[in-house]
Symmetry: C2
Subunit: 356 residues, 2 copies
DNA sequence: CTGAAAGCGCTTACAG
DNA sequence: CTGAAAGCGCTTACAG
């Protein structure tokens, strides 16, 4: 005895107008008398009408919608994983006439990001999802034309549709707790803070230090190093060499916290220094190289912010906004993070979604 | 320059028949001349024609498809969480004319499960998803009529479409590792094994014990108790009282591992015994009651098997199978698990999905 | 055995 | 400002 879903026809009938008029108010296309506007809105509410994605998609065959994605391709493995999430969103949205246009950048430079985004805009995107390298007047301008959303990192000033990202302060605190668990709450540790990167990382490190100070009096922060680098390879190598240096400088070091996805390079430094088993690495994300070090115990745990999920969600949300099912309101969506340990991964991180 | 997808019309034109005829061969409805049959098949192949889900779904408004779900409602909070995942699947599939019929059971009895499933079958379901209490001839019989899939727990003998669930042995090993981290690898622990429950739990406990034996020579398993109970409330109370008893019996107990979602009841026993801070609880799943104990540190961590995700996935997969986009092949899909700690949850577990 | 027509719920021109 | 009509790609009666 399912009560059939109300259709646009039902709304039109109840509001005593044509379905054309209902459509106009549904999508704020204007040119509707105030009176009809309100009757329709009342009818929509009364019937709890929700437009059928299906019917809309069928029509949209003609006017396909395009969503642009822009993000850096530094730390390749991290972002590569992300592709899987985007693929999932793509195949789920394809039947609805949505195509995703992707433009990578090879660094965190704001200037290049703007170039990348302009390229997407030139291709006629109807919405933009990006991991900002910073704020820029152009973004604000753009946001007046199409909905734009930030993922992973946020920017303050721009009038955006929404932001999806982790709670970096909390992530940093979690990292501190994991370090403490592995080193039995006391000993010397080193903290590595990547420099050329998204702003959230710094919040993360702050959260880490704060938690250590608050809760772990016997943990000594023996070193805080900033990892610099220009380009991917350089970045990796610096993480590695800084780690080696610090390891040799502090013989009784018990743990290293690396505040982003460079985990495996730090772990490699530990292993190459012959310190596996004595120094544990706590880091972020999950790259293919991490597997080996998780198994050997050199990496104790990794905190995974699930970028695939974030982009996946963002694509679907932005789609809803573009087709008018939801209005852009600058919501801030906080995503949860996962702890990855050797025993945590029975198979690929993204196993759950590869079917769609 | 997207090449437009071929439609049934294109196929009809190429095969020089009507779209009605194309539809007939597409769905083996018979009553087609051999000659046309082959022309259509050739055209389909030549154009690489794939029917549009969207269009099909629009029509299917009339002939809706029903998926039945059957699972126990013991440990309410665990399964309640699950509802959120089912809701997500429901709202995502609704536009495709799919409705989900749910039938709970109040225990893990196989007999009641069969009754429950028969009830669903009587309502004309086109597919079944369930968490089996065991195998039964009826299930095998049913699987010949409609595709059936198992979630969380599996059964061997039945010819099922697929199974989705965690790797319980691995989960048990992970639990052992977490216990070891919290108690600094040595001391007395207790293991609580729920009895009336799904079979995976026993594999879990086995994995736990195996890992302790292998890797933690200084951890002493001072108690292994079986938790029994008839009905939900009884179950909870027994977990609580067994815990209290064991705690008072073993004064230097350092950790309790509870092998399923009764975590909060064990934690309550620890707290009520005045042992918070001395005994850490490692358990499973995440109930609203856990939050308090995670914050206070009585629960160190919980291993979350994400039942919502599992059912969500199962619904979508089974839908694909029912409409013929995928064939049932008995695949075994292993899902990953999450570690939940105080710092892990910025907001509701299911935040990611509530938008859809 | 086969084709033409109606209709699923919506959007998009088009005509008032 | 408003409505009637055409059409998205398919399935389902219906008429030959």
């Amino acid at each position: 005895m399912e009560k059939a879903e109300p259709t646009i026809k039902d709304v039109a009938r109840l509001a005593n107008v044509s379905i054309g008029t209902v459509d106009r108010v549904l999508h704020n296309r204007g040119r509707v008398s105030l009176k009809n506007m309100e009757r329709v809105k009342a009818a929509v509410k009364k019937l709890n009408y929700r437009p059928s994605m299906i019917a809309r998609a069928l029509v949209s065959k003609k006017s396909a919608i395009k969503i642009g994605l822009s993000y850096p391709l530094v730390e390749k493995d991290f972002w590569a994983e992300l592709d899987a999430g985007i693929e999932a969103a793509k195949s789920e949205l394809r039947p609805f006439g949505v195509s995703l246009l992707i433009d990578h950048r090879i660094n965190y430079s704001l200037k290049e990001q703007i170039v990348s985004i302009k390229k997407l805009v030139d291709q006629g995107i109807n919405g933009l999802i990006f991991t900002p390298a910073g704020d820029h007047p152009y973004l604000n301008e753009l946001s007046k034309k199409i909905p734009i959303a930030t993922v992973i990192d946020d920017i303050k000033c721009t009038n955006k549709a929404f932001h999806i990202g982790p709670d970096d302060r909390r992530i940093g605190r979690l990292a501190a707790k994991l370090v403490s668990l592995y080193i039995k709450s006391s000993g010397k540790i080193a903290v590595f803070c990547p420099f050329y990167t998204t702003s959230g990382i710094h919040v993360r490190v702050k959260g880490f230090l704060e938690k250590v100070q608050q809760d772990y009096p016997n943990i000594i922060i023996a070193d805080i190093s900033v990892i610099k680098g220009s380009g991917e390879r350089d970045y990796y190598l610096n993480a590695y060499s800084v780690a080696r240096e610090v390891i040799s400088k502090i013989p009784d070091l018990k743990a290293i916290y690396i505040a982003n996805g460079l985990t495996e390079w730090v772990a490699k430094a530990v292993e190459d220094s012959g310190k596996s088993g004595q120094i544990v690495v706590i880091g972020h994300e999950y790259t293919s190289g991490d597997k080996h070090f998780l198994e050997s115990g050199t990496i104790g745990a990794t905190i995974y912010q699930n970028p695939s999920q974030q982009f996946y969600l963002a694509c679907k949300l932005l789609y809803e906004i573009i087709v008018g099912n939801r209005s852009p309101d600058g919501t801030n969506i906080v995503t949860s993070c996962d702890i990855i340990m050797d025993e945590t991964l029975p198979c690929s991180r993204f196993s759950g979604m590869e079917f769609f």
